[in-house]
């Protein structure tokens, strides 16, 4: 066994009302990729926040040892000095500074009182090389793609000379190919002796690249698996605390009449009015059907559905609901025509964090609970409670604010809100992003149930297994155009990627 770099001993951390971590022990060895998996709320992030110093050492019980020496972090800087670098889920860099400036943000001082830019740029280049990124060190960050920005955040972490890299959902906003590249770089870092701690909901990545998997549940470490003994079924059942035979509860339901048809949709590019981000897209969806929309990030998938829903302006194109041409200029009209949209980033435009579960569920259907110009409290409670129970939102009661819920439960509330509008067509944009396995399964179940009731569902997904397993039919977009259509039964990851990238693989 390689030498132990990190030892966390008997860590217990309590928040008011809950024990987030209960006597957790964790070890990491030199030169390994250690994955920590578990449902949302299992305590992974809390554990990493303790390690990175976000939670000061006096706010929990337990000890941390690095290279056999006991350490106590009062803040993130001390943790960084001890050789721990954290790469956060959300990028926290300055988009309007250039690459080199971002790499050494907060540490420009080491390049002299009057910053010697040449030195800084040279140093930056050496770290960019480590992550095999071919960009100019003076390039402004905003001009780079999401995946390049992610690599730069890794380069920045490396520049603080760490022993341990913590990656929290590093591939959440990356496409399949970009993720692959990121992991190749992680494998190389591992060869160089870095220890990588990975937190990810994407289990296929975890299984493909980890040397060891630690399963957490309800604030406890359940088990640790060596690479030689990975067993997907066992690990998932340990995560959710019950046996799960099938990740995707897809069922065949009768597919009936066409309900919505989109013809020749074009949407202007948000940054460049002369370019189109969606170009001449047509498709239709039928009752009981789950239509998947595949494609790379930037292929125009979200823009397409946002334009259908009236959130952004389209350039041209028609929408037909049950054969009738309809005009949709804003979300209000879309809702009235029987369309619902669960948007891509629920934090940005999915829910109101400072409002209660009840108020969020009824937000898109205020008219239905209003009589004589007043909201009827009882009617509202009854309507909201129905979805609260049906979708099994985990919360003490409906007065809880959305801010305090986990991602999966927030998503259930957002879904409740849209189901309450009684839609004929439900559009889901990355419905399971950042959501734990158990809740994912529940959301798939809900989708199948809705399809059986005759709803038409359109699902955008970057997770290929999900897209392929849940869809009856997949439309693949590439560069804003329809690259092809695949019946669900014939779909494979290769076929989708082939169309999405526009090349044979």
């Amino acid at each position: 066994m390689a030498e132990t770099v990190l030892k966390m001993k008997h860590i217990t951390k309590a928040f008011p009302g809950v024990k987030a971590l209960n006597d957790v022990c964790l070890e990491a060895y030199k030169g390994e990729i250690l994955s920590i998996v578990g449902e949302n709320g299992a305590g992974k992030s809390t554990l990493m926040k303790i390690l990175s110093g976000s939670y000061a050492c006096d706010s929990y019980q337990g000890e941390i040892e690095i290279n056999g020496k006991k350490v106590q972090f009062k803040n993130t800087r001390q943790s960084e000095e001890a050789g721990i670098a954290m790469i956060y889920q959300e990028l926290n860099m300055h988009l309007d500074l250039n690459v080199a400036e971002n790499l050494f943000l907060g540490r420009w001082g080491q390049f002299g009182k009057n910053i010697q830019w040449n030195k800084l740029h040279k140093a930056a280049e050496s770290y960019l090389e480590m992550v095999q990124l071919d960009v100019d060190a003076t390039e402004i960050l905003r001009n780079l793609s999401a995946s390049k920005q992610q690599l730069i955040s890794i380069a920045r972490a490396l520049s603080s000379n760490p022993q341990i890299l913590i990656l929290d959902e590093p591939t959440a906003s990356l496409t399949e190919t970009e993720s692959k590249r990121l992991f190749e770089i992680m494998l190389q870092l591992k060869e160089k002796g870095y220890t990588c701690v990975l937190i990810s909901h994407k289990l296929d990545e975890v299984f493909a690249y980890s040397d060891r998997i630690v399963v957490m549940r309800d604030g406890c470490v359940i088990n640790s698996h060596e690479r030689s003994e990975f067993d997907q079924g066992l690990i998932i059942s340990e995560m959710v605390g019950r046996k799960m035979d099938n990740l995707y509860p897809k069922e065949e339901v009768p597919i009936k009449d066409e309900i919505m048809r989109i013809e020749n949709f074009s949407v202007p590019h948000p940054q460049n009015a002369r370019k189109k981000i969606v170009e001449d897209v047509s498709f239709q969806v039928r009752q009981g059907e789950i239509l998947g929309i595949g494609g790379l990030v930037g292929a125009g998938r979200s823009e397409l559905v946002n334009a259908i829903f009236g959130i952004i302006e389209k350039q041209s194109g028609n929408i037909y609901m049950q054969g009738q041409k309809v005009c949709i200029r804003n979300p209000e009209e879309a809702i009235r025509k029987g369309i619902a949209l669960v948007t891509e980033d629920r934090k940005v435009d999915g829910f109101v964090g400072g409002m209660s579960i009840e108020q969020n569920i009824t937000l898109a259907s205020l008219k239905a609970i209003t009589e004589y110009g007043m909201i009827k409290a009882l009617k509202e409670k009854k309507a909201a409670l129905r979805y609260f129970e049906e979708l099994k939102v985990k919360a003490p009661d409906m007065d809880v604010h959305l801010n305090t819920l986990s991602g999966g439960n927030q998503q259930k509330v957002v879904l409740s809100k849209w189901l309450m509008t009684n839609p004929k067509v439900l559009i889901l944009d990355e419905p399971t992003r950042g959501i734990d396995v158990g809740t994912k399964y529940e959301i798939y179940k809900i989708m199948v149930d809705l399809a059986r009731q005759g709803m038409a569902i359109i699902m955008i997904s970057s997770e290929l297994p999900e897209l392929i397993s849940m869809s009856d039919r997949i439309v693949v977009l590439s560069g804003g155009k329809v690259a092809g259509e695949i019946p669900g039964k014939e779909a494979t990851q290769e076929k989708v990627m082939e169309l999405a990238t526009g090349m044979a693989m």
């Binding site: 209000e332 949209l341 999915g350 937000l363 205020l366 008219k367 801010n403 305090t404």
Partner: protein, 313 residues
Amino acid sequence: MKKKLNVNSLIKVGPLALLCIVTGIINPVFFSSSNLIDLARSISFLLIVSVGVTYVLLGASLDMSIGSVMGLGGAICGLCLVNDWPVWLSIIMGLLAAAVVGIVNAVLIVNCQIPALIATLGTMYVARGIVNVLTKGEPYYPLPDGFKAIGQGTLWSIPYSVFIALFIVIIGHFVIKKTPYGRSLMAVGGNREASRVSGINVKKILFSSHVLVSLLAGFVGIIMAARLSSAQPNAGEGWEMTAVAAVIIGGTSMYGGYGSVIGTILGCALMETISNAMVLLHVSVYWQKITIGVIMVAAVGMDTFRLKKIAAR
């Protein structure tokens, strides 16, 4: 949940009660009926406009022009009155002038998407400028007795304005708590994008809140002119800060989506009691501005701290 609410309101009532008691002990005049009536009147003036400010802040917007709008409402009304227009028509003209500023604010903020602070600072100057151009710096007077009664008349020796303020508070509270409009306003303030996606007409909501605050400000300006028997060109100067501070002390968030009209009552009571107490305790008026500034920053600081605590969970 219920328990927490009680503690919160206690925290707000506590300092107010303490202030009253201390002031009353040092200077018993504080508890004299004439002082209490004066205090109630000044609270009611501030309260009427602060209900509007509460709406604007709940929608995560801001209005710095209300002080000038008060001046404008009073001046236009006074101008009509000295030209022998009927009282009712003069009042309507004053309100109309105020509404126009509100509409301009709304167009700038909602349609042109100019930051609310800058847009309303601009209209604050323009509106005050118009008042100065019209009045040439001289107050409009004398005003007819029928008009003065609005500001000076009493019922059971309580000024009319107190009843008017109570009426506006009740309506304001009811609309926030019970109507789709109020709910939508809270949602827009909490998350504008999510509200838009949920089918709420965000522009309409914000537009109306800006017009409302201007109308209420113009209305207070008119009552103030009636109270003083003259429309003063500098009426309402500095009120924007007092009102915003009162609303924030009352627990409404600078960042929108959180707060209540009931809290605003407490905030207004506290602000006016402080300035009343300072007079009675013979503190120089020059200290009043310092006090308001400090209170305002402290209140916003507490609000920010509250949000940070939520985010840290």
